[in-house]
Symmetry: D2
Subunit: 299 residues, 4 copies
């Protein structure tokens, strides 16, 4: 018999993810505050439900995809208080990107009530959510990770266990901070080369085969025209928005405060993205994050 | 008939490179100021010569591997003035890592005398020099690049043309600055993860398959014990010394001054390596550059 | 008739502040969780009270000096809930250094209950608290600022109104971030001078009369032996500890996240202090913050 | 009898300086490559001379004010070679801002020829040059400093001896790097305050009386409208141009390379000024350096 999933949060990301659960054979109760999102979910084969508490009744899994930690805590604990109504046998998977402390609080409150919880933030954007090729970084017990895997496999291409509850968030924060650092560094190195007479395509080809190689250079070259099919060659249409990278770098800053860790490169990158966001008279926060190249270029 | 090469500068790198030219069938006149280096070159099949001007007589190629730009300019122009005695038909390949301005001056002076010149700095350390697996980033005309290729192929595994004279240096500077940035960023991300409870091996495995992936993480993990056969797992024995990375980052700073380029990430990395070099009571400059991990770790 | 103050939090700072209120003629009900602090307050002329709720009964003012925002919120709202028992006519002055958001929450909850609140974080350390020479940066209405002034004047030499509730915290965060930046910059400039052959005393004298002049150079030279009576000339005994500066810089980072402000210099300074704290085998966090000079010095 | 000075370099700065020497009673032979500068010098009472070698004949002092180190070396050594014709009894004062290495080379070549040399770079801009209120940071022997003092006193208000030849340049580099750091930091702190609701005038007043105080805040507030008579309140008309600050920060970077000093705050400031120069579609390099405030502001 088909398993049932309650899906909470049907935005750009969540909508695609819920649709992929349907395709994989899950029965999906879909909840969102916006009517249009509910309608789209219904079109994708979900059962639209206009109340979160109703949506979770009798389900095997609860999957949530929400904008920030305050909302996650509200939905599960302080507001809707879903933890009080979710069936004890269900597994909760929060796919939102939030602070590890948010995940740990929800996890601890779930445990108090005899519920099982994993945090499972995603890597990959709207296109990957639609295509079912997201990566999930999971925090939770080995046993809960195994239970979560079939659900996550239906929505993604790579599923990793990072450690116990909260570890998924930490892994995502670390990964995306490192991404911000090498994207910024790649833009900087390419600009230094161009300013000294090099062709960015030639320099990119050389560095791809040398020790400068990194994901930004390989999959996502930030200089317009060097690589086809990337945001840089499409007026920096996202892709992964500057504002979302700033959100992840803010989480990195907060994590570093908590653990008293030094993150000079991460904060340098965060401030460059923030300067970029505020530059040039329009909100660059809505552009793809590889548009950081524009901060480096000359008039 | 075998081609003849004059090889100037038989240090840790140059010695291995000259030996590989012999293995490839070149006749090599070897010159160095140190007797022991000349002796080692003779053992490797070179013809030791105790005078640079004598070494270049009648050769087809001149290859130089020298410590810095001042010495390169002295050998070719201001001191030994080899440009005045090198045969007009010969091609000069300077493999030293120097400022683009140094290469351009030697190139221009060579051209005045009807000589052909390329800069061809290397990527890869002493082991790659011995094994003949260096990468060369070449600046020079297309024609000179084609002439240089057989010589460079005898010493390396990858040979790239970056552009005209000086462009080889620019490409190396950009590549190594980017390497410094993602090595530092990788150490920082791994430490942030460890400080928040993650296993560095698990976090590395996740980031290797995610958008944080980069050469430092893939080939050269800076946390002891995560990867076999890298400096981090051998007390940070080099490998590529902090002092050499600092030399390359100094060249990047000087290049950025000349081209009025912004390099906030590159200078942040330079200063972290410099703080690391001066920390902890011994000269960390002699350790492998992945030892930057130690700057981040807690007592 | 003498006014009555309830003083909550009699630590290194609070103890001295409460004693100065007594000297100025206030009747002080003193509360702290630690017996020794209560005893010291009694010796200074305060009335020790072993319950916070009892301490605030019938008072004209409540002054609190607590370690962080979570404790402040707990004391006033979520735990002891003093807001529910403080007399409506009293004015509350929270002198703790916390996030503006903490102050604003307490201020809003106070207002709901018809109570008056100002945040009034201090600048100056334990010695200034004892001497009554603290500076206060106050957030609150004009009227409440005027009511607070006599109390603050009894404990400090300078009292500023920064704006409405929370503004005192913002002003302190900005001031201390700027202090961190010019202290770090002063250490860096002096080291660069010394590394290039200058006497730090001579260089300091020149910069004091030039455009490099700043409070760190004028009152608090970080190089040992340049200035008498400062921590640098006393093995960096605090003074103002690295750990406290890190606390303030963490608040600056959090504020910048909230307001989406760029603080590249502030985060660079924060990470240098954090690297310094973790360097060299002992906890440098307990040293005076001018010991950042040691991070720059060579072995 | 009046002393004679040869003045080499009559630009915006040099013109005013030469005029002040005339006012103080010196006889001044003035040389410049531009006819208009010579004419202006004649109007100010100098004797215009159309050849540098002629200008120095029989003089007691040679004062030079030139754009960069290459030109200084050319004028004294490699090009005009004035060192070969300056009278042995004369004292040479180079007031140009150049690398310490430039000053040391000219000083050493002067000494070889039995000549006396000091480097004496200035602090203060065109207005101070005209008003005779410059500050001079002098490198040279005690004896030469005493000889130079009457000449420098005629052009400035403060004359400091920093050490031996080259030390004047080092002192200026350190001072201006520190100025760049606290100006950037001041802009950043004021913006953080404004973004969190504070009035920049109120915040400035508070920090002026607190530990954040520094020269930028006191003399040169970067927020328009806070202070009268500063560039910020005059559309950032210089004052001291971004391009000139970038020149000094470039010298700081080069000095740090030579002395292997860590300058994370100095390079962060340099890159912020460089990003600012290249931002916004026009050349911000010509604006006053306090316009760095614009880099921080939001759209």
């Amino acid at each position: 018999m088909n398993k049932t999933v309650a899906f909470i949060g049907l935005g750009n990301m969540g909508g695609g993810m819920a649709a992929n659960l349907v395709k994989a054979g899950f029965k999906v109760n879909a909840f969102d505050l916006m009517e249009t999102n509910l309608k789209a979910a219904a079109d994708a084969g979900c059962t639209p439900v206009d109340c979160a508490k109703t949506a979770v009744q009798g389900v095997d899994f609860v999957v949530s995809m929400l904008p920030n930690g305050a909302i996650v805590e509200s939905v599960y604990i302080d507001g809707d208080a879903l933890l009080d109504v979710i069936p004890k046998a269900a597994l909760i998977l929060d796919c939102s990107t939030v602070a590890p402390a948010n995940s740990r609080r929800v996890g601890a409150e779930a445990e108090k009530r005899g519920l099982s919880f994993v945090d499972a933030p995603v890597s990959g954007g709207v296109a990957a959510a639609a295509a079912g090729t997201l990566a999930f970084m999971v925090g939770g017990t080995e046993a809960n990770f195994e239970r979560a895997k079939p659900v996550l496999d239906a929505m993604g291409a790579n599923v990793f266990r990072a450690g116990d509850v909260g570890a998924g968030q930490v892994a995502k924060i670390c990964n995306n901070m490192l991404l911000a650092i090498h994207m910024t560094g790649t833009a900087e190195a390419l600009q230094l080369g161009m300013d000294n007479g090099l062709d960015p395509k030639v320099l990119s080809d050389i560095m791809l085969k040398s020790s400068g190689c990194n994901w930004s250079l390989e999959k996502y070259n930030p200089v317009p025209g060097v690589m086809d099919g990337v945001p840089a060659s499409n007026d920096y249409q996202p892709g992964f928005m500057v504002d979302l990278m700033l959100k992840d770098l803010s989480l990195a800053m907060e994590a570093s405060v908590g653990s008293k860790s030094s993150i000079p490169m991460g904060t340098a990158a965060r401030n460059l993205f923030n300067l970029h966001k505020n530059s040039g008279g329009e909100d660059k926060g809505l552009k793809d994050f590889s548009s950081i190249q524009q901060l480096y270029s000359k008039p």
